[in-house]
């Protein structure tokens, strides 16, 4: 059966509506959301209410967590101080706009959702803030899926949709200086695992301007990336009217990403 996985809605209501319509047109009723309902965009309450109304299973994103708990992302995840200030401003704006009820809703979202062999998370099984980029070290990527005891890991957070298959792996280890005479050596085969990044509905960063999400068929194991057009102008106007940084609108219109850039997971933060 086909199921849809969406992520990073970022308070962009026209994009969310367009994607939900696209999902409905395919007759798909099983939808999972990987969080970041808010942040950057102008309609945080409206997006949360739509997700609640449609009863879409959702895990907590980095923005959802930060809006509730205070800023948690390490500052080093911002490429510049200007980007950081903009991010903090959007954070504060969102915190002020959200109703108490909607904040509670975000606070109570689970970190992960498990369905059979699939695990759904926002960033990685370790943290809502960890980026699993498509070119991340393959062994480290496999470790994330294996450690989470899943076969397919669905994540978002990078805003770049991709499907990554990790296969035919093996590792050989040798115990050196064990005290016993025989050198213990063994080779182990690694299991085949997949990581599926659902991209972003409300803040695409894959180069294009369309909203992205994925459709997974749990019988054929097929995953498809979908791109959906939406009324970008409408969101851009709302961003300007809300007094949010105009670059957020410019970014949506141009499909470029000059602000918050994803960091590799091997990025070492001592926070």
């Amino acid at each position: 059966m086909n199921q849809a996985v969406i992520s990073c809605l970022h308070a962009n209501l026209p994009a969310v509506e367009a994607v939900l319509k696209d999902i409905e047109l395919q007759g798909i009723t099983n939808i999972t959301c990987l969080g970041d309902l808010v942040g950057y965009g102008p309609q945080p309450n409206e997006v949360i209410e739509l997700i609640k109304e449609k009863k879409i299973a959702t895990c907590q994103g980095c923005w959802d967590e930060d809006v509730v708990d205070g800023l948690d992302a390490c500052d080093c995840s911002y490429p510049s101080q200007i980007a950081e200030r903009r991010g903090h401003f959007a954070h504060q704006w969102t915190t002020e706009k959200l109703t108490k009820e909607n904040k509670d809703f975000l606070a109570n979202l689970p970190y992960s959702i498990r369905k059979d062999e699939c695990l759904f998370v926002h960033g990685s099984p370790n943290s809502q803030h960890e980026y699993l980029l498509p070119d991340m070290d393959a062994f480290a990527a496999l470790e994330r899926v294996e450690n989470a005891k899943a076969e397919i890991l669905f994540c978002g957070h990078t805003h770049q949709p991709y499907i990554r298959e990790l296969a035919n792996g093996s590792i050989s280890v040798k115990v050196k200086n064990s005290g016993s005479k025989d050198i213990q050596k063994k080779e182990m085969n690694l299991p085949m695992r997949r990581i599926v990044n659902a991209g972003s509905v409300g803040e695409p960063r894959h180069g294009g301007t369309k909203a992205t999400y994925v459709v997974y068929n749990d019988i054929t194991n097929d995953v498809k990336i979908r791109e959906v057009e939406y009324d970008i102008e409408l969101t851009c106007k709302a961003i300007i009217n809300a007094g949010l940084p105009p670059i957020f609108a410019w970014r949506l219109k141009n499909g470029f990403e000059f602000a918050e850039r994803a960091e590799d997971a091997s990025h070492f933060c001592e926070r």
Binding site: N126, P134, D135, D137, A138, F139, A140, A141, L142, E143, E146, N147, Q160, P161, Y162, I163, R164, E165, L166, A167, N168, G169, S170, I171, S172, V173, K174, V175, K176, N177, S178, G179, K185, E187, M188, L190, H206, G207, G208, T212, I225, E227, A265, S266, F268, E270
Partner: protein, 240 residues
């Protein structure tokens, strides 16, 4: 002269053991650097004398290079150095008594020094850390899945990781690894075969058990404090 590292951990206030190790190292050939990979403190003993000695080495002591460990993290948590968090994991696992004993074992005047300790050192292509770069409490052993070990090495971008949290002594080499990765995105398919260069994780031990590492030859020697007097019996020297 041969460059050699001495890696110790888990002294937990035991000045006698520290003095025994200092004595050993004076007799050990080579140019030795002494690293103390955390857990200088613990709840069992009063730790003030050892801390004083680490901060103010005697004139003939090898200078100790210290990082913080799991017990240091607990006292910093409990003493309010980590915002609103407290040492809840310790409290739940070991009880209120142990939390109290830890607080009583360390004079408050040492807390700022402990708080200023580094999380780890990166020397050459080696990471020296109490647990791992993921967590100070990360308990790496011979039985940890190799994928996890590789991940911890990758996070620090090192080829060798010296860890102390498990208190075990081991030298595990990841000799070979291969993994095929195929990424499909909106621009197409990208295939890559990834190989791992040789890497290693070394458990340095705790208390009287410590590790000597010969930087030039990549050999480890697992030692028990006072080994010099026992060295003939144990055949020490074979690895160098």
């Amino acid at each position: 002269m041969i460059e050699r590292w001495a890696l110790i951990s888990g002294l937990k206030g035991d000045l006698d053991t520290y003095e025994l190790i200092q004595k050993d190292l004076k007799k050990t050939p080579g140019n030795i650097t002494l690293f103390v990979l955390g857990d200088m403190i613990g709840p069992e003993k009063n730790c003030n004398k050892l801390l004083h000695r680490l901060i103010n080495p005697k004139s003939n002591d090898l200078q100790p290079w210290c990082i913080y460990g799991w017990w240091e993290e607990q006292i910093l948590l409990e003493s309010g150095y980590r915002g609103n968090q407290r040492a809840e994991a310790l409290r739940i696992n070991k009880g209120e008594e142990v939390v109290k004993s830890l607080i009583n074992a360390v004079d408050k005047s040492f807390l700022d020094w402990i708080a200023a300790l580094q999380f780890g050192f990166v020397e050459l292509d080696c990471g020296l850390i109490h647990g791992s770069s993921k967590d100070v409490g990360d308990d790496l052993t011979l039985d940890t899945p190799p994928l996890t070990l590789l991940d911890r090495l990758t996070r620090l971008q090192v080829n060798r990781l010296f860890t102390a949290r498990s208190t075990q002594q081991f030298h595990l080499e990841l000799t070979e690894g291969i993994l095929n990765s195929e990424v499909h995105d909106l621009t197409g398919n990208h295939k890559k075969e990834q190989k791992v260069p040789q890497k290693a994780v070394i458990g340095v031990g705790a208390g009287k058990n410590y590790t000597l590492y010969d930087v030039g030859t990549d050999n480890t020697q697992f030692v028990r404090a006072g080994y010099q007097s026992e060295k003939k019996k144990n055949g020490f020297g074979l690895h160098f």
